[in-house]
């Protein structure tokens, strides 16, 4: 053959589609009972999360993290950012456990983020909410909690979100199981670092296609179902 060979790596150009996104909200209980060792361990876990996730070049471009803390108030301490811009917050513990309002807030944020993706032609993966608590809803009217739980269940049924709950130490696991769809996991000790490394690895696998999503967390090694 007289024609020049084509070197594919140089010749082929890629379509310029926006990077697909995977939104993830961390919903963290910072009520008074978390004071001391638990809150310090949780803060350390967040740092480990960032360190692990940033090692994966695709995940660090695709995963968008937001952090919401709840005690006697619900606060967005980090709005959605990619991992490189994520600054793990130092957490302090105080007050009660406004879990119902916190769930509402997370679902609101997910809804708004998806609308933004759609408006900008960005493809996305199913959003995740990862809630960590050492207690049960406290200090809110029960109706707020029930409403939040119903909304969460309807969002799960309509595949709007995958909502995972993790209980720490004295968490009321049976109450948690009533509120969410997927079986909550009980953290072994204060093994947050291992849990967040697991979460990071799970987010790296997010692009793998899925069949049925109504499943509990896989046996994670850092907790018990």
């Amino acid at each position: 053959m007289t024609t020049e060979p084509i070197k594919l790596e140089d010749a082929v150009e890629f379509a310029e589609n926006p990077e697909p996104r995977c939104p993830c909200v961390l919903l963290l209980d910072t009520s008074g009972s978390m004071q001391g060792e638990p809150i310090a361990a949780l803060s350390a876990g967040l740092k480990a999360f960032k360190e692990d996730l940033i090692k994966d070049p695709l995940a660090s471009r695709r995963v968008e993290l937001a952090v919401v803390i709840f005690d006697s108030d619900v606060k967005v301490v980090q709005d959605f950012v990619t991992v490189d811009q994520f600054e793990p917050p130092e957490l302090a513990a105080q007050g009660q456990t406004f879990m119902g309002s916190a769930i509402h807030k997370a679902l609101d944020m997910i809804q708004a983020r998806k609308a933004k993706y759609r408006a900008n032609g960005v493809a996305y993966y199913r959003p995740w909410v990862f809630m960590i608590t050492d207690g049960e809803p406290q200090g809110e009217p029960d109706s707020v909690v029930q409403q939040a739980s119903q909304r969460l269940k309807s969002d799960e049924a309509n595949k709007r979100v995958a909502f995972f709950a993790v209980g720490v130490e004295s968490a009321n696991m049976s109450k948690l199981a009533e509120l969410v769809v997927r079986a909550p996991v009980k953290l072994i000790g204060l093994n947050f670092v291992e849990m967040f490394v697991w979460l990071s690895r799970s987010m790296e696998k997010v692009a793998q296609s899925k069949t049925d999503e109504q499943v509990a967390l896989p046996p994670p090694g850092w907790g018990t179902v």
Partner: protein, 265 residues
Amino acid sequence: MQSEAWRVVAASVRGTSHIKSDLPCQDALRWQTARGGWLLAALADGAGSASLAEVGAGIAADRGIEALKAQVECKSQAAADEEWRVGLVAALASARAAVLDAARERKVEARELASTLTLLAVAPGIAVAAQIGDGAALASAPPEALACLTRPMVAEYLNETTFLISESALESAQTVVRRAAWRHASLLCDGLQLLALRLPEGTPHARFFEPLFGFVDRAANPTAASRELSAFLQSQRITERTDDDLSLLLAAYGNWPGSGSARSE
């Protein structure tokens, strides 16, 4: 005198995320030529969450191409479009039944064998294609530009699609019959969609495909060219953009010196 034939360059490689999680390549890509100037091809992409995805994908692609062959052997190319569509759905149904049978034999849930399936049969005057799930089948008849025959099924989430084992799979299947002087054809899996198609419209990105078809037109040795394609799909330029399994089939119809009829391994 040489007669015209299909030259096929194809590769299927394991994605970097599959390597990391110790999963096999869950794509199954098959092709063969058949009398009448036909090229037959099947691509099944196993679901990452399915424990036997590569088994399911293999069965879907094998049975799919077999059933497709039976269709082109019993039909005239001039048969009505509707007749072809019925044949395509029958081929998908046959692949689906084979996967469901395999699930029963192995006593596992059908979803453990979940995969997508794209079927393409193309001859110089006609192209027929069918698809369940994502991925795409494309063809061009110069001077017309390359166009999608089937395109990724748009679901809300990028990684969630319809699978062959889904209840509504056959009703939601895309079936396409187009008549033209086809010279180039391609099949690709969802892992390449973001690189090869402009989304969300799902139109082919010309500067992705043109060099690739140029490469096939010059590939005197399709086996060596397939190895080169495989290396390209594993190159850093690609893996920094996608970590999924990648499959790509490129075919060109022409009068190739020294070409015989070929068949995939």
